[in-house]
């Protein structure tokens, strides 16, 4: 860590500049945060991003639609399927393509599982950031179970390339219903166990309650979405407010926080995992045998035009703006990454906070640098 001092024009005290990152274990990747502190208080914070900028949006312009899916896998590498889904839905919407029911149910089940896996990673890492080592072991145990199911379905633990334009790659394996029902029972018990371990722990409460608060109107102004927005008391979930795919067929709750502090952001995610299980169980009940892909040409050529589609990824409102010129490659792809917009509010949340809380506040936003930098 590099520490420098610079004079303060206002008074006798001297603001100290502390540099955190880009190689720092608590920054979830390569993220650099420069903070100016006066004593223990943060006066100003300046996030620096771009260390993982691969030009994904530009790369998409040189690939065919089916190849772009692999690039989307690598945006939010903790919730790959949710990214694939957003792109495929956007292309389908532009083409006016009807997806078979069974394919939609498979997508929803897998995406909700991916949401749980993503939140489990958050749970483990967030415990570590607050100073507890144990949660990560429990979080990863649950995540591992989900990933081995993914491996059985898609053939890969991450970077699945399973959701395709018009449906999914192939039907579920035969033992899937059995494995899934075992998994949901395990997950339900696992979430309860995790909940018991950390949520009402006195030290965890002391580290997170009333820290890094943001009000609802401020959160909307900063374009905050997903769990951080709902933690601030705003009832907004794309799955309900602007339903995509078949989310209008399920009956589930949306957890909403009260104070918009770190604990609320944490607890909204814990409840969301339970609601995801509710969706998965309903989807399993409603799902019927049938085709898993619409009849599409091998090389998709959407009509001229543009589409904007948003989905609820584990981190928030994941939007895809797609401009097509009628050829087999997209003319322009713009990804509205939820982490990118959520991270902007960090400066607001860090204002007047203690320097020791900086890591806890950053962790509560749950960023993935792969989609922040793209």
């Amino acid at each position: 860590m590099q520490i420098t001092q610079q004079p303060n024009q206002q008074g006798d005290t001297v603001d100290m500049m502390v540099n955190m990152g880009p190689q720092h274990p608590s920054t979830h990747g390569v993220f650099r945060l420069v903070i100016w502190i006066d004593g223990e208080r943060i006066v100003r914070a300046e996030p620096h991003i771009g260390y993982l900028h691969r030009g994904s949006e530009k790369l998409c312009e040189g690939e065919q639609y089916s190849q772009v899916i692999t690039l989307f896998d690598r945006l939010d590498y903790v919730a790959n399927l949710n990214c694939e889904l957003a792109f495929c839905l956007a292309v389908e919407k532009l083409m006016g393509l009807e997806v078979p029911d069974r394919a939609s149910y498979i997508r929803v089940i897998l995406c909700e599982l991916n949401r749980i896996a993503s939140h489990m990673l958050f749970y483990g890492v967030y415990g570590m950031e607050a100073g507890a080592i144990t949660p990560i072991l429990y979080g990863f145990r649950e995540r591992e179970r989900i990933q081995s199911l993914f491996e059985g379905v898609t053939g890969a633990r991450m970077m699945h390339n399973y959701i395709r334009v018009g449906g999914v790659k192939e039907d579920l394996p035969e033992d899937f219903p059995k494995r899934l029902s075992t998994l949901t029972a395990q997950l339900r018990a696992g979430i309860d166990e995790c909940d018991k371990l950390l949520t009402n722990n006195e030290m965890f409460l002391a580290r997170t309650k009333g820290i890094g608060t943001i009000t609802g109107p401020d959160a909307i102004d900063y374009g905050l979405t997903g769990p951080p927005l709902r933690a601030a008391g705003v009832l907004e979930d794309v799955r309900v407010s602007d339903p995509y795919s078949i989310y209008d067929r399920f009956d589930f709750g949306i957890p909403v926080g009260t104070y918009g502090d770190c604990w609320d952001r944490y607890y909204v995610r814990m409840e969301e995992m339970r609601q995801s299980l509710v969706i998965i169980e309903q989807a399993m009940e409603q799902m019927e045998p049938g085709p898993v892909s619409a009849k599409v040409r091998r090389i998709a050529r959407p009509p001229k035009g543009e589409v904007y589609l948003r989905t609820e990824s584990p981190r928030g409102d994941f939007g895809v703006y797609l401009v097509s010129d009628g050829s087999d490659k997209p003319y322009r792809v713009k990804v509205r990454a939820p982490s990118f917009a959520n991270l902007q509010a960090l400066q607001h949340m860090l204002r007047e906070a203690y320097v020791a809380d900086a890591v806890v506040i950053l962790g509560s936003i749950d960023i993935v640098l792969g989609e922040v930098d793209r």
Partner: protein
């Protein structure tokens, strides 16, 4: 380096199907924004409002503050390079009214200047910095138009169609 050519292809256009809220909005817009030069169109299921660059801040301010529109959430801000022009696209959504709108403005590629909307939605800040990095669009009166995604001293704007990427050989 070859000058990029605009890809022109024959093909069908995506059909337009506005829902009830979209239709109501496209009727309402000319009424609310009667003082500005606007053009109301549609793309797929979105109402598209085309304005002149100079009017962007005023139109966005009205879109947010007018109770009939109440666009409090900036979904996305993107730039698109159409070679003969650069387009800045604002995707808006209203959390209260649950309707959506797209505002578009076009600027010439040799002098791309658009007033900032950071004063309207604080969340526009990084989106504008990104568009400045990748497309070279100057957002006038932006509080901090520093490079965000690119490193300091990077030359060129990699988002533009004229920027090569398959034969890019710095490494």
């Amino acid at each position: 380096m070859e000058k990029p050519q605009k890809r022109e292809r024959e093909g069908p256009e995506a059909s337009v199907a506005l829902d009830d809220k979209g239709q109501a909005l496209s009727v309402l817009l000319p009424d609310v924004l009667s003082e500005v030069d606007i053009e109301v169109g549609a793309a797929l299921d979105e109402v598209v409002l085309t304005v002149r660059p100079a009017d962007v801040t005023a139109v966005c301010r009205t879109a947010k503050d007018d109770p009939r529109l109440a666009f409090d959430y900036l979904r996305c801000l993107s730039a698109v390079d159409y070679i003969d022009r650069l387009e800045v696209v604002y995707h808006l959504f209203s959390l209260q009214k649950r309707h959506k709108l797209v505002i578009k403005t076009s600027v010439p590629p040799d002098n791309p200047k658009v007033p900032t909307v950071v004063s309207v939605w604080a969340g526009a800040n990084w989106f504008e910095r990104e568009a400045h990095d990748l497309f070279g669009i100057e957002f006038e009166h932006h509080p901090n138009l520093e490079p965000l995604l690119l490193y300091e001293g990077f030359e060129g704007h990699p988002g533009l169609k004229s920027f090569p990427f398959h034969d890019y050989d710095e490494w």
